[in-house]
């Protein structure tokens, strides 16, 4: 459903090459007209956008160009595997098994040997996009954070093997695990069914929280402000909800008990829509919150460079620090909200309505 627009892009406007060239010319003209300050602002905007985006190399210090390339894996009538250093940050065309690829605005497009990119009237590239399974910065971050979570909790679990009282790090982690169990799972799902959902709830909670915290680092590895990641999480919640649901759950969707028959017909489509809206809201909420937080923080940091007045600089520095602390809270809060709503949907799926 979400993939189809890419295919549309790929097959569209191929016959409008001349028009697109005009567009490019027009675009460049506009750039020339920009004043020095406007250029700077545009650069900052681009920087922030780039910082929030996924990328094919792991940038540690952008200004100094410190970082390392990551493997690019493409499926384009055969598997293509090469290092992202071949792109030279989009400056050159990468060749693999007779196909040519170019990095343009953080996306890989299939091009000819010269790297020609054609555009439609909205200045969107119309080149074909290969299926991209590259180990990007975000994928690498997910792997590393996943490994971190795994080893931290494996160690924590092991500390229970000879005594039942948590020690060291466990003293900090156990209350969190109990928090998920006693404040999220049991109140929303109920004592009878909560056990089978605990693994998912705990994993999703710590996964989101750790990734949110990783996004707070200056490395620009905001994984959770990527719609694909939140979509993946919401999809799993959606699937678990549907596949573990009881008869009552579907009964409440298609034949709402306790209301007159005409109302049942009215409610059924609304309820059915709700089934999809719930995980959709989960996806958008996490994505939007994390993205907004990062944009606000980075904009404030950007303002530090815009203002030359030292008083204003100080004020914005203070504000940035304050918002950073708020963001730390939000990192936890969003993980909590996601887990909490997930538990709520699970609870709805297994609820037993004795009153009907």
């Amino acid at each position: 459903m979400l993939i189809s627009p890419f295919a549309l892009f790929a097959n569209h406007h191929e016959d409008k090459a001349e028009h697109n060239e005009e567009e490019v010319a027009h675009h460049e003209e506009v750039v020339v007209e920009l004043t020095e300050a406007e250029k700077k602002a545009a650069k900052r905007k681009a920087y922030i956008k780039h910082h929030l985006q996924d990328s094919y190399d792991f940038t540690i210090w952008q200004a100094k160009g410190i970082g390392f390339p990551l493997p690019v894996i493409l499926w384009d009538e055969g598997l293509h595997l090469f290092s992202s250093s071949k792109f030279h940050h989009g400056e050159t065309v990468a060749e693999s098994k007779g196909n040519f690829y170019k990095l343009y605005h953080g996306k890989i497009y299939k091009t000819d040997a010269e790297g020609t990119i054609s555009y439609d009237e909205h200045h969107h590239p119309t080149n074909a996009k290969p299926l991209d399974f590259s180990i990007t910065k975000n994928v690498l971050t997910i792997m590393l954070v996943g490994l971190l979570i795994f080893f931290v909790f494996k160690r924590f679990a092991k500390s229970y093997s000879n005594n039942l009282v948590p020690r060291k790090g466990g003293k900090f982690l156990e209350p969190l695990v109990l928090f998920v169990r006693d404040e999220i799972a049991i109140p929303n799902i109920g004592k009878k069914h909560y056990r089978k959902y605990m693994s998912y709830l705990l994993t999703v909670f710590f996964f989101i929280w750790f990734l949110n915290l990783a996004g707070m680092t200056p490395l620009g590895i905001g994984v959770t402000n990527n719609i694909a990641v939140t979509f993946g999480l919401a999809l799993i919640t959606f699937l678990i909800t549907q596949f573990t649901s009881k008869k009552d759950y579907w009964g409440h969707i298609f034949w709402m008990p306790g209301v007159p028959v005409p109302m049942k017909f009215v409610l059924a489509p609304i309820e059915l829509l709700g089934v999809f809206i719930k995980p959709f809201a989960l996806m958008i909420r996490l994505y939007a919150n994390m993205t907004a937080g990062h944009i606000v923080l980075m904009s404030l940091i950007g303002l530090l460079y815009v203002f030359t007045n030292w008083f204003a600089k100080g004020a914005f520095l203070g504000l940035t620090l304050f918002l950073s602390i708020i963001e730390l809270l939000v990192a936890f809060l969003q993980a909590y909200i996601f887990t909490m709503l997930t538990a709520l949907y699970f609870g709805g799926a297994v609820a037993e309505h004795d009153d009907h």
């Binding site: 975000n138 994928v139 996943g146 229970y160």
Partner: protein
């Protein structure tokens, strides 16, 4: 929305989903199950410890009341025993008194009898002594009376005179 869809990375979604599911199963096996089991086990053991403490408390209370009962019983028994002892003492004393009285009476009676007996013996002795003395006196008198021929002749004469020849 278009921007959002354009930003959607299929590769990232693919990796994220796979990695997340792998992480979910690994954590379930190696972390969540042992952790939750340990926590449950601990909670159960705390609960059972509390329960057994409550039981012990109840047991103690029961024991205390039993002790109280035992004590009361013992006290009652002691009182009864004391009462018995006192009664016994009174009885013994009374019996002893009676026996002593009887004994005393008997002794007095025996003494009296003995005295009577001794008295009678002494009287008999005295009578015998008096008789012996009387005989001795009579013998002496007789010897005195019959010491001379004249006197003997007088006596024989008196006796012969008294004898009536019938």
């Amino acid at each position: 929305m278009e921007q959002l869809l354009n930003d959607f990375s299929v590769g990232l979604f693919f990796w994220q989903t796979i990695l997340f599911v792998v992480l979910l199963f690994l954590l379930r096996k190696f972390a969540w199950k042992p952790i939750l089991n340990a926590v449950n086990e601990r909670e159960d053991s705390i609960k059972s410890a509390l329960d057994s403490a409550e039981d012990a408390k109840r047991e103690m209370a029961k024991l205390k009341s039993t002790n109280e009962d035992l004590l009361n019983e013992a006290r009652g028994e002691r009182d009864a025993m004391l009462k018995d002892a006192r009664d016994m003492k009174d009885k013994i004393v009374a019996e002893a008194k009676v026996t002593a009285n009887e004994q005393a009476d008997r002794i007095v009676a025996e003494a009296r009898e003995s005295i009577q007996h001794e008295k009678m013996a002494a009287i008999t002795e005295l009578k015998n002594q008096v008789a012996i003395l009387s005989i001795e006196i009579a013998e002496k008198i007789l010897k005195e009376e019959l010491s001379s021929a004249d006197k003997q002749k007088t006596i024989i004469d008196n006796v012969v005179k008294d004898i009536n020849l019938n």
